[in-house]
Every structure is written in C-alpha cells, then in structure tokens.
Amino acid sequence: MDRANTLWQALTRRDFLLSAWPWRAAGYLASSAATGALALTGLLVLAGFSLLLVGLPLLVLAGTGLAAVERRRLRLVDPEPAPGPHRTPAEPGLGAWLRLRLTEPATWREFAYGLLYALVLWPLDVLAVAAAVGLPLAAAATPVQLALDGQEARVVKTVLVTTWPGALAAAAAGLALLLLLLYPLAALAGARAQLTRLLLAPRESELRERLGEVTRSRARLVAAFEAERRRIERDLHDGAQQRLVALTMTLGLARLDAPEGPLADRIAAAHEETGRVLAELRELIHGIHPQVLADHGLAAALDDAADRSAVPVDTDVDLPRLDAPVESAAYFAVREALTNAARHAAARRIRLTARHRGALLAVEVHDDGRGGADARAGSGLTGLADRLAVLGGTLTVDSPAGGPTLLRVEIPCRAH
C-alpha cells in the first residue's frame, strides 16, 4: 500500500523504490507513447482536412477529446482527480454546445496542449523512459546476451564483454543505474503531470463560475417550487374552497326549509361536516402559503404565525418589506420552529424576535422547552437549512438536551 499521497511526497521517502510509485511514474510516461502517436496522427489528418476549412473546428475540438484522455491518464501519478474545465451549455442543442466550447478559454488551452503534446511532449516522454529504464535494463541483460551468444556480448551495443565476471559486473552496474535513474524519471513524471494539470484542469475563476451556476440553478428550483405553492394555493382557494362554501350555504338553507324529522337531522349532520371540512381546508391553504405574507409582508405574517401558535408567543418584530423569497424562507423557518417547540420541546413560552440591520435579516426563536433539537438529524430543519442556503442564509440551532432552544435564521438581503 502506498502511504505517500503524491509522487512528490513519495520521492522524499526512504521506501520510494519499494513502493509502486516508480512504476506508476514509468507507466505514466511510457503510456504517453500510445496517446501521443494517436494524437500526432489525428493532428496530421485533421490538419489536412483543415485545408478545406471544415476540419478547423474539429481540430480544435480534438484537443478537447485528447485532454479528456490525458486527464484520465493523470490519475496514474496524481491521485487528486482533475475535473473537466468546461461549462454546461445553458440551452440544449449542438449549436449552443459548439458556440460555448469555441468561446471558452479552456478549449483553447486544451488545443495548445494538444499541439505541444503531439509535437514535443510525447517523444520526450518516450525518450526519457527509454533512457532511464531501457538502457539500464539492457545493461542488466548482458549475462543473458553472453549466454545466448556463447562468445561475446556488447553492453548496450557498445562496450564489448567476453568474460562472465565482466558480464555480471555490467548487469550489476545496469541494475544500480536503474535504481538511481528512477528518481529523475519520477521527478520528470511529476513535472509532466503538473504541466498537464496546469493546462487541462479548471482555473480558479472557472471553478467559481461553475459554483455560481449551481447556486443559480438551485435558486431557480426554489423559485419554481415557490411558484407551484402559490398556484396550488390559488387553485384550492378559487376551486375547492368556493364550492365548499357554496355547498355549506345550500345545506344551511336546506336546514332552514327541511321539516323536522330524520331528514333534517341528516342535513344538519352533513352541514356540520362540511363546516369541518371547510375549516380543515382553510388551515391547509393557509399552511401552503398565507395570503398575509404576500399582502403585508414578513412582519405581519410572523405576527399571524404567533397568533396561531399553540404555545404563547411574545413577539418583538421590526421589519421593512424584503424580497419575496427571503420573506417566504424566513416565514416557513419560523413556522417550523414554532411547531417543533410545541410538538417536540414541550415549550411553555416562546420569544420571537426579528430585525433587519445592515443588510442582514436576523430572526430568532427562543423557547423554554426541553431542547435536544438537531439541525443535522434529518428533521424538517435540514430542509429549511437547505432552503436558506440557496439565499446565502444560515440556520443555527443551539439546543442542548434539557433546553432551552435558540433557533437563529440569518439571511443577507436589502430592504425595499
């Protein structure tokens, strides 16, 4: 097992020659011959086509293909994976993909690497392996040569050896040289790997760009989810709820008109049942998206949540209007906190404070319950933390066993 994590670390260790690293380094450089020869052939063919112009984009993109192979080959000497530096096209289709690739600096770096590789690097790689491994091995094979020939052998086609002691000495020298040359060979492989990484791995700015992409797509998902919530709420309100209200009204009138008897009793029962369904539906709709949040903003919605809480809540809320996603995320976080405090923490009193200072919304829910809440334990809190993270916000929960619990939500945002 290799205990050294990188080639460079391995080089400084005493057990370098006993580890797999020298072989990995030699393998890395030797395998360069295969891809290199292929790259050179491809380059020549595509350069030929390029005279007819159609091959030009292909030539550039061939660099990208080669780079993908090279990044994989890098794993031989570099355990840290080298991701591709390319972005994902914003729209589907070959055209968009091609446009993006040809405008990315990474593509041109890969192309440059391809040229350099096909014309200069791979012959050097092969030459280095041949010199550092091939020659010493050839010297080490002198006794075999002598045995086959019976009369004489030439060490690496030069020095003539005719005696067994001479042949054995040449072999010993060859092996010693091999062990010695493995060091510069490994160093060369290391340098080659670094050059490859430098040209083919994503730059800092490209990584940041991609992180930005991920954040934006997450934000889009949350926004889509939010829009869907509103749509469901609207549909329930305009559809099911209206019909139920009309139904209770009809049943209410029927109750007035029905003569006393079993029929009237049944109408009465149906009437009361619809009333209960309506109340449940109302709570459901409110839970999906309270109208007051859209109409009056977070401050009013928090007061409303406090009104509805099963545990008495003291509120201290002073907020301007904020962006809808921020208001919504903060509101649902507080609702979850209030529910948890009542359901799991057996709290008797909750203190809710909300402030917006210096472009930061800070909301705190403090309860006197028994504590033990954990944001990582896969509760509703995890989902909330994710949702806040999309907005660059954070959720912190301080809830030692035995209580009290302090839940704090912070979201950077500007006031309207």
């Binding site: 709820q241 209200v245 009204m249 109750r255 109302r282 109208q291 007051v292 859209a294 409303d304 008495p312």
Partner: protein, 216 residues
C-alpha cells in the same frame, strides 16, 4: 334599521355570488348589484347607494387584498356606509385596518365559512347594517391564545365579555350568553373600559375603541 336591505355584493367566484344572492333573497334582502372586482364595486356603490356592502377580500386583478382596499376607500368617502368584509381566513391585520376606517361602527369582518351558518350570517349582516361592529369569533379566539398588553390587566371573565363585544353583541345578548345579569355585564364593561384607559364618553363609541385595542 330597514328590514329589507339593499345590498351591493362583490365576490369574484360566480358560484358564491349566485349563492349569496339567493341566500340574501331568501331572507328578504335585495342584492341590487353583484360584481366581480373592486373597480366595479366602487361604481356599483356610486350608482345604487346601497344600505350595506358585502365584499370578498381577495379579488381580481392581482388577487391580493383588493376587496379590503376598496372597502376602506369606500368608508373613507362614505363614513356611514356599512361594510361587511368576508375573508378566506381570519387575519388580525385585515380586521384592524377595516375597523380603523371611519369610526369603526357599521363594519364587520367575517370568515367566509360563516355564510354557511345562514341565520347567524344574516343576523350579523343586519347588525352591521344597523351600525354595529362584528368581528369573527375566530379572530377573537386566536387573539385570546396570545396574552397581549394592555389586555393582560383584564380578568378572564372581562376578556370573555370583550370578545362578545367584538362580535357585536349587545349587553342583553352578552348577559344571555354568559348567563349573568345585564347589570353584571355593564359592570364588566365599565371595568374593561377603565382598565384600557378609555375615558367616559358616548358609550357605543368607547365599545368600538375597546375592540380596536383588543385587536392591536
């Protein structure tokens, strides 16, 4: 109070609009105009000068609180126009805003579900038309869950009385509800007004102020 009220109704749901028209007709009231949005509501009021306006909160075009805004605007133009607002769900802010309009008399804020309790609904309508103040018991119930200053000073019984005042009940009705004498109710109300720091003035007006304090 006229027995047959001329009503302007604003509700964007056709089903409910028709239903309410039929319901009010059943009790001898006349819906002189049934409209579907806030602009039409204001035009209908100008055209018909009704005895009372019944309006939904959420209406086109934005489906926010257009109905409530229209009601408040109407009250600003015609302080004596009784308005009954029906809401999808109870909201203290909405109720408080509505009661703030005019002097708080002749307004009602009811949960939409209440129209199913047809007799109570029509009774509430008549109370509002007669200058009374009606606040949905659900709003009251929610508020009671939260102990709020200056209500902290009130005894449970006094809060109960105040809740019934908010629902627009008269002293007689409150006495009947709580099974106490009318004099006892009067004494409770006196204590409430004193504790809320409302100086003696015209009695009905102070009752509204007490309700407003209660809502805030």
């Amino acid at each position: 109070m006229p027995s047959a009220l001329r009503v302007v109704l604003a509700e964007d749901g056709v089903l409910l609009r028709e239903g309410l028209t039929a319901l009010l007709g059943r009790f001898g009231h006349e819906v002189v105009a049934a409209v579907g949005d806030a602009t039409a509501l204001r035009e209908a009021v100008a055209a018909h000068e009704p005895d009372i306006v019944v309006t939904d909160v959420r209406m086109p075009p934005a489906f926010q609180d257009e109905g409530l805004r229209a009601a408040i605007a109407l009250r600003a133009e015609r302080p004596l126009l009784p308005v009954l607002v029906l809401s999808q769900y109870v909201q203290r802010e909405y109720a408080a805003e509505l009661l703030d309009s005019g002097d708080g008399t002749g307004v009602g804020y009811l949960l939409k579900d209440r129209v199913g309790q047809v007799e109570e609904f029509v009774a509430a309508l008549a109370r509002v038309a007669g200058g009374g103040t009606v606040v949905d018991p659900e709003v009251v119930r929610q508020l009671l869950r939260r102990r709020r200053d200056p209500l902290a000073a009130l005894t449970p019984r006094e809060r109960e009385v105040l809740a019934l005042v908010a629902e627009g009940r008269s002293n007689v009705a409150i006495a009947r509800e709580l099974v106490v004498s009318e004099a006892a109710v009067g004494k409770h109300i006196g204590n409430i007004l004193a504790k809320l720091g409302l100086p003696p003035a015209e009695d009905t007006h102070r009752r509204v102020l007490a309700v407003l304090t209660y809502l805030r």
